[in-house]
C-alpha cells in the first residue's frame, strides 16, 4: 500500500516534474479500479532528478526485489543510470517511468495530461485517452481487465457518442 498524500505532496512541494499514470490516474478519472502503488512518468533533466531525490529520499527508496543485505543508494547518479525504476519505500511502492508505452516520454505525457486538484495541490494526470493508449500498448492481462471501463468512461463523456 502506498501513502498517497505523503508521496504526492512531497513530489509537488519539491517542484518535481511528473505526471501521474497508472492506477491512481485511472481512479482520478472515476474508475472503481483499486491499485496498490503509485506510478509516475518523470522528466529526466538533471534538475528534476535532483528534485526527485529531495522529494523521495526521506522515504528511503530501494529497488524492489533486491536482497535486504545488498546496499542500495538512491541518488541522482542512480536515477541517471537507468530509466524505469520500481522502488519500495517506507510509505509503499513507487514506480518511476521515463517513458510510457503507447504515449511517450515525460514531455509527451505532460502534453497529454489534465490537471486535478488533490491535497490542495494541482497535479498533472495522464488523460483518459492517453491512459487508454497506454493500456492498449501494454496489453497485459491486468490492462485488458481495466480497458472496458476506461473505454466506457470515454464514451460517456464523448458528445458525439450518440
Amino acid at each position: 500500500m502506498i501513502e498517497l498524500k505523503d508521496a504526492i505532496t512531497a513530489l509537488v512541494d519539491n517542484d518535481v516534474e511528473f505526471v501521474l499514470i497508472g492506477g491512481v490516474a485511472i481512479t482520478l478519472h472515476s474508475s472503481a479500479y483499486v491499485t496498490e502503488d503509485l506510478d509516475l512518468c518523470y522528466s529526466r533533466t538533471n534538475t528534476n532528478l535532483v528534485k526527485l531525490c529531495a522529494a523521495l529520499g526521506r522515504f528511503k527508496p530501494r529497488a524492489r526485489g533486491i536482497p535486504d543485505e545488498l546496499p542500495f543508494i538512491f541518488d541522482e547518479s542512480t536515477l541517471r543510470n537507468g530509466t524505469n525504476f520500481t522502488f519500495s519505500t517506507t510509505i509503499g511502492d513507487i514506480d518511476l517511468l521515463a517513458e510510457v508505452a503507447g504515449v511517450g516520454d515525460y514531455t509527451v505525457a505532460k502534453e497529454k495530461s489534465v490537471d486535478f486538484t488533490i491535497y490542495d495541490r494541482v497535479v498533472k494526470v495522464l488523460s483518459l485517452d492517453a491512459l487508454i493508449a497506454a493500456k492498449q500498448a501494454a496489453n497485459r492481462p491486468k490492462d485488458q481487465l481495466v480497458l472496458p471501463e476506461l473505454l466506457a468512461l470515454r464514451e460517456a463523456f464523448d458528445p458525439d457518442s450518440e
Binding site: M1, L28, S31, T35, Y119, E149, L151, A156, E162
Partner: protein, 66 residues
C-alpha cells in the same frame, strides 16, 4: 443530449458502455465515482488500500492459528 451519468445507467445497445457492462463492470460504481470530487476519489482509493492491508493481516493471522 444525455449526460455521462444517463449514458452509463442506460447504455445504448452495441456501445462501449454496454460492452463494459456485459464484461462485468458495475457501471453504478463508476456513476458513484463521477458524483465525487477528485479528492474524494483519491480518499476512497486510500481507504480501499487500507482495507486490503487489514484483510491480508486477518488472513495471515488466521493461517498462523491453523
Amino acid at each position: 443530449m444525455r449526460t455521462p451519468e444517463e449514458k452509463l445507467l442506460n447504455p445504448r445497445p452495441g456501445s462501449k458502455i454496454a460492452e463494459a457492462r456485459d464484461f462485468g463492470i458495475d457501471l453504478t460504481l463508476i456513476v458513484g465515482k463521477l458524483r465525487k470530487t477528485p479528492q474524494q476519489r483519491i480518499d476512497d482509493l486510500q481507504s480501499a488500500m487500507r482495507f486490503h492491508v487489514e484483510l491480508d493481516k486477518a488472513r495471515e493471522a488466521r493461517l498462523l492459528k491453523k
